[in-house]
């Protein structure tokens, strides 16, 4: 149940934000590592993650 919901809610995120969440949780990357990997400024990565968390919480309850 929870597994289906997290995947459904991740689908609703923009692809690069979804990547941020997965890199952080599954791969254990830090903000800086994600920033490097996605070639995106550190501040942007931090903001994406913050908003992704808010969106996920809103989506999953």
């Amino acid at each position: 149940m929870q597994a289906e919901r997290i995947h459904g809610c991740l689908e609703q995120l923009e692809p690069e934000r979804r990547q941020c969440v997965i890199h952080a949780y599954v791969d254990g990357y830090s903000h800086a590592e994600i920033s490097h990997k996605l070639a995106t400024p550190l501040g942007t990565v931090k903001a994406w993650i913050k908003r992704s968390l808010v969106a996920l919480r809103g989506c999953m309850g």
Binding site: Q2, A3, A24, K50
Partner: protein, 236 residues
């Protein structure tokens, strides 16, 4: 409009989310860990995030550890194993208490079954009489009265009786007119005497075997010599 409470709640959830996600800087992460035992709301938020994100662990690809890493894992496992386990005091041994509980339970079950199946001991006291030869005091017979309905005369050997004579069994309680015949006895055989025509057995009641003619005493009282004699003793 956002109330202050909602803002706090959002901030807490954001912190918990980043904590579970693993993106907090080490210092902030340590702060959250220190707050967790004292802040139920933070703990709840962390729990919720762990439940939300946990299914994602399935996405992690299995990695075969390098030979060096594997060796390190084995070394640390070995080091852990060599740490002697803290000796458990006997009162903390689960197996011991389980065992004792089982023994106790079995004992009470056995007692319960015994209690349920055993006949209630009657109020009739149990008497025992040892009949001995008057001259030698050699025991020859035992009278057992542990049954309210009958007594048993049990031979301890085979008494010698002349072929034209018979042994007759008598009893006399205190205050009785005289001895009452309980019947003829065959040497070496147990005699069962129903007690329904006699008063209840009493302490010190006399029992004797006398030598009578083959059909028993003609007058209903002992006439011949006493072969064995004894008095009833209450058995506790």
């Amino acid at each position: 409009m956002t109330t202050r409470h909602e803002t706090d709640d959002d901030a807490l959830n954001e912190l918990a989310g980043e904590y579970v996600l693993g993106t907090l800087p080490a210092e902030e992460r340590a702060q959250v860990q220190a707050r967790l035992p004292f802040e139920p709301a933070l703990r709840r938020a962390v729990d919720e995030w762990e439940q939300r994100l946990h299914p994602l662990t399935a996405l992690a690809k299995p990695h075969t550890p390098s030979r060096q890493l594997w060796a390190r894992i084995e070394r640390s496992l070995l080091a852990n194993r060599q740490t002697p386990p803290a000796a458990t005091p006997w009162w903390n041994l689960l197996a011991l208490w389980r065992g004792l509980t089982l023994v106790g339970l079995s004992a009470s079950l056995v007692l319960a079954v015994l209690l349920a199946t055993q006949t209630v001991p009657s109020a009739t006291p149990t008497y025992l009489v040892v009949l001995v030869a008057p001259q030698s005091n050699a025991p020859g017979w035992v009278v057992q009265a542990n049954n309210p309905n009958e007594i048993q005369l049990i031979p301890l050997g085979v008494a010698e009786v002349p072929s034209d004579k018979a042994l007759e069994f008598w009893t006399k309680g205190d205050g009785w007119q005289g001895p009452v015949s309980l019947g003829l006895v065959k040497p070496g055989q147990t005699l069962h005497v129903p007690l329904d025509k006699l008063p209840p057995l009493q302490d010190n009641q006399l029992f004797e075997l006398t030598l009578e003619q083959k059909t028993g005493s003609p007058i209903g009282k002992p006439t011949g010599p006493i072969q064995f004699i004894g008095r009833a003793v209450k058995v506790i």
